[in-house]
């Protein structure tokens, strides 16, 4: 459904934009209908930038994003509005997504003005209530309230309900539960999984491996703007290959195993080069930058080591023998 081809994002930073900051480099992946993909990375890995580019909130520097075969970047006016009818985003901080001096349900009025100007009051009310029930909220408890009267979980679900009012087929969920309390966050996560069962596709952006594992069949691991490993969540978690993924697995605090135990299993310091085709080595963004300088940098190739498990590599010859 969604296809990202070699997309990059370069920000101009420094005085007069003299420096380049590559937030996302040559990222490609696809998301099918009814699929949840986890985009996992630490802060600064470019995961939110990818979500923003898919939502057309920031322009793409190079590469192409297509939604059902139509390039996304050129959309304007009516076509863009039509796009937003199908593709919506929900973000990290539910408290700042609302204007505190207006009632929370004002977000629905905006949708009505933009997309359903001809629907009469009675039918709109019915549609709204149905959408709220769809996200597990009691309409009478949340309508006509100010944002501060509702919990973070309720606010976040209102935003999802807002997206569901449209004919949403794709949802970008950017760290949507990280600001919620532990006792309520799992409910929002379950809601996403239920929506997926109803055919919605979701890009689930997170820094938390266990959340990614819980909800998605496939995962993309991002490091400094590059995809370093992707494929089936089970395979990546059971046999992480790229040194960065292995470091990540070994560092994330877990509730089932202590760090020492995980280190023994994952052995982050041991290289797994023997898994790769001859001459290939694991891709390292730092090495790529050193070799390439400001000019042409070697790009990672994704090698399929087993079915539905790809890892980023340098091809033979990418690294000069002296390096």
């Amino acid at each position: 459904m969604f296809k990202l081809e070699e997309i990059s994002k370069v920000y101009r930073v420094g005085t007069f934009g003299g420096k380049e900051l590559r937030a996302v480099s040559h990222v490609s992946f696809e998301i099918g209908k009814g699929e949840v993909i986890s985009l996992i990375g630490e802060s600064g890995s470019g995961k939110s930038t990818i979500g923003k580019m898919m939502l057309q909130l920031t322009p793409i520097t190079s590469g192409k994003i297509t939604f059902k075969g139509t390039p996304v970047s050129g959309l304007k006016g009516a076509a863009l509005k039509e796009y937003y009818r199908h593709v919506q985003g929900v973000f990290q901080d539910p408290f700042s997504s609302y204007n505190p001096i207006f009632k929370a349900d004002r977000v629905f009025e905006n949708v009505r003005e933009q997309f359903f100007p001809t629907v009469d009051d009675a039918r709109w009310d019915e549609k709204l209530r149905e959408s709220l029930r769809g996200v597990g909220l009691n309409p009478d408890q949340v309508l006509n309230k100010f944002p501060h009267q509702l919990s973070g979980g309720q606010l976040q679900r209102l935003l999802i309900a807002r997206a569901l009012l449209l004919d949403v087929e794709f949802l970008v969920a950017d760290e949507i539960i990280s600001m919620l309390d532990a006792s309520t966050r799992i409910d929002v996560l379950n809601l996403l999984a239920d929506l997926k069962a109803r055919g919605l596709s979701i890009l689930f952006i997170t820094h938390d491996l266990s959340l990614g594992y819980y909800i998605s069949e496939r995962a993309v691991i991002l490091f400094k703007g590059y995809v370093v490993e992707m494929g089936s969540t089970d395979r990546i978690f059971s046999t992480p290959l790229h040194p960065y993924t292995r470091m990540l697995m070994a560092s994330v605090p877990r509730l089932d195993k202590k760090w020492a135990e995980v280190e023994k299993e994952v052995r982050p310091e041991e290289s797994q080069v023997e898994e790769l085709p001859a001459g290939y080595t694991f891709f390292d963004p730092e090495v790529a930058r050193e070799i390439g300088g400001s000019g042409h940098r070697p790009q990672p190739v994704l090698v399929e080591v087993e079915q539905d498990h790809l890892v980023a590599c340098f091809e033979p010859g990418d690294i000069p023998p002296t390096a």
Partner: protein, 346 residues
């Protein structure tokens, strides 16, 4: 016995009335113990941490006593607290990133800090350098401004500074929350190392991330709505919790290896009560599946097993206690005492 807190109450003064953020907590931290303190936002865990070192302008000491190494800590008096701070009780604040003076080089800032405690910088310097080395910072940082350090480096710098005078008790408030996973692990393991080397005697690690506590804490204490729910050795809290809130909280956390399609987790319905006018009795009872008529009384925090404290009538019953013989927790002080305490701010 390092820290002993007895029936401590600290409220926030607001225009709507007192917010009872810390309402009668009683617990102990042994020498050498790393105690994790966890709970949802607004449960009073940071309030507890701060009240042991410095009450902010809106916090009011209401009742209770804090003892450290057998000495009463005068937390209600800002001035009398001064000799205790940094030497006896120290804190790594939540925003360590902005805890250092940006206009001073780190060496000079440290010298000023030590001077304010009447301690010679020169004589402390060799030990200071040794500890910087231990956390992987070179002594060049002494000639740097805080802005020149990365987030993880600043965090480690503040850790060394906070513990430089070997305090008896260290409060670490959400120290890992803003870091990436590799630094998170390094900083957490350093906390343990500091305890092992005796830089601090005991530690209270405050965080909302229970999995970090599982990795480093000896015991974990769970708070709910300004009161204590349960305290027990780490393995017990995680693998065999007793309090209904702890049970539901732990079981709602996704673990690596748990998938929605195989095992659906569930959260806790409802939300915590407002602490402005909290309900009497057990504060969790409106969300609790095990609640019964006794729960309108406030359950005391009782040791049901060695080192395992719980405050829940249902658990007491399971333990075979005659709940009619167990006295309920004391209520908050009467209106007049409360008013006087709220008006007083030293």
């Amino acid at each position: 016995m390092s820290l002993k807190v007895d029936n401590l109450r600290v409220y926030y003064q607001t225009l709507q009335g007192p917010v009872r953020a810390l309402d009668g907590v009683t617990f102990m931290v042994e020498d050498g113990e790393i105690m994790g303190l966890a709970g949802e936002s607004g449960c009073g865990k940071s309030t507890l941490g701060y009240s042991l070192i410095r009450l902010t302008s809106r916090m009011r000491y209401i009742a209770g006593q804090v003892e450290l190494d057998g000495k009463v800590v005068p937390i209600w008096n800002d001035k009398e607290m001064n000799p205790f701070r940094y030497k006896q009780v120290s804190i790594i604040p939540q925003y360590a990133m902005s805890a250092m003076n940006p206009t001073r080089k780190i060496g000079r800032m440290t010298a000023e800090l030590l001077k304010s405690r009447g301690i010679s910088y020169k004589r402390t310097l060799p030990e200071f350098k040794r500890r910087l080395d231990l956390v992987g910072l070179s002594e060049n940082v002494l000639e740097m401004y805080p802005i020149e350090l990365s987030g993880g480096m600043k965090q480690r710098m503040v850790m060394v500074l906070s513990t430089l005078l070997d305090p008896s008790l260290l409060i670490a408030d959400e120290v890992t929350s803003a870091l990436d996973v590799a630094s998170q692990k390094a900083v957490s393991q350093m906390l343990v190392e500091f305890r092992n080397r005796g830089f601090v005697k005991s530690m209270i690690v405050i965080t909302h991330d229970i999995s970090i506590l599982y990795q480093i804490a000896d015991t974990i204490m769970i708070m709910y709505a300004g009161q204590l729910s349960e305290k027990a050795p780490t393995e017990e809290i995680i693998n065999s919790p007793r309090h209904p809130y702890t049970k539901m909280l732990i079981s709602s956390l996704p673990k690596v290896g748990v998938k929605y399609s195989e095992k659906k987790l569930s959260g806790i319905p409802g939300k915590p009560p407002s602490l402005l006018n909290p309900p009497s009795g057990c504060r969790f009872r409106h969300r609790c599946p095990a609640a019964f008529d006794k729960c309108v009384e406030d359950p005391p925090f009782i040791e049901i097993d060695e080192g395992h404290f719980v405050s829940c009538w249902a658990v007491f019953q399971e333990e075979g206690l005659d709940i009619d013989q167990v006295p309920a927790e004391e209520g908050p002080p009467g209106a007049q005492i409360l008013e006087e305490a709220l008006a007083k701010h030293v």
